[in-house]
């Protein structure tokens, strides 16, 4: 892993729970579908060993709910949906994230002025 990739991983670690919850706003999803959605959003490949423990923590915290759908052919799927608490938490923390990145952007703006 090069330095740039390591930095991205570090950033993602801090907001992955919010990204997962955001991906559940559109509709309920099962684990693999979620990882595909996050990858399509440009966040890179999220391994199952990272995603499922995170989903388990969100479920335990009551921020997502889960239901098991038995499969007709092959194994079933566990669908996750955002709860009302999850919606509230996501809205509040998305505002906090926006305010944080605005402050960082304002600091970085000096780079443009220096040139």
């Amino acid at each position: 892993m090069d330095g740039r990739e390591a930095r991205h991983t570090q950033w993602l670690r801090g907001v992955l729970d919010l990204c997962v919850m955001a991906a559940l706003v559109e509709r309920e999803r099962y684990g693999y579908d979620l990882s595909q959605r996050l990858e399509a959003a440009g966040l890179g490949h999220i391994k199952g060993g990272t995603l499922y423990p995170l989903l388990a923590r969100l479920e335990e915290a009551g921020l997502v709910s889960a239901r098991w759908q038995p499969g007709e052919q092959g194994p079933g799927r566990k669908y996750y949906a955002l709860t009302a608490d999850g919606h509230r938490r996501l809205a509040q923390q998305a505002r906090d994230w926006k305010s944080f990145t605005e402050r960082v952007d304002a600091l970085f703006a000096i780079l443009g002025r220096d040139r």
Partner: protein
Amino acid sequence: MNRHEYLKELRRQLTIRGVGKRKAKLIVAEAESHLHLSGEDPEATFGPPDRYAASLVPDRHWHITSYIGAAAPATAACLLAAQALRTLLGEGGDVTVRTYDLLMLAIIVTMVVIVSLPAVGWRFRRSPWWTTLGAALAGGLAAFVVMLLFEDRTLWRLSAPVAFAVAGGLLAIALVLTIAPLRARR
């Protein structure tokens, strides 16, 4: 390790950590579903089965430790309250706590812990059989040494109301030790 072996080992690791059969089955089925759809290698996706199982299940160590910690004051409280009641209803006088009472308490607590540990999620399979046997032999030897070194004498003399109060205090400690890990898990 192929997919079948990985999932079998994952189920075993979850069982070792005290996960119920139904929940373990769902976790394994979800991992199987992911592997089926992605075609990925199990260890590359989830990591080693023991570490993946540990990341999914809250640490029960504190829960078990505090449960064992709660068993001692709870048993002592019951024995003390029973003695105080017997004194009140019977010949009267004080409640006495003797050396051998403490020995009996240690034996009862050990029995209570051994009998009820599976109920709080412990699995004896986690440790080899000889460690359990070794612990039992060491405990028995320690009790024998205590009996040889200390004669049975009165340690404390308490009036019945004080004995009830002490029993209440011990019960409160046991209650706190039982409830604390449940609150921590939320």
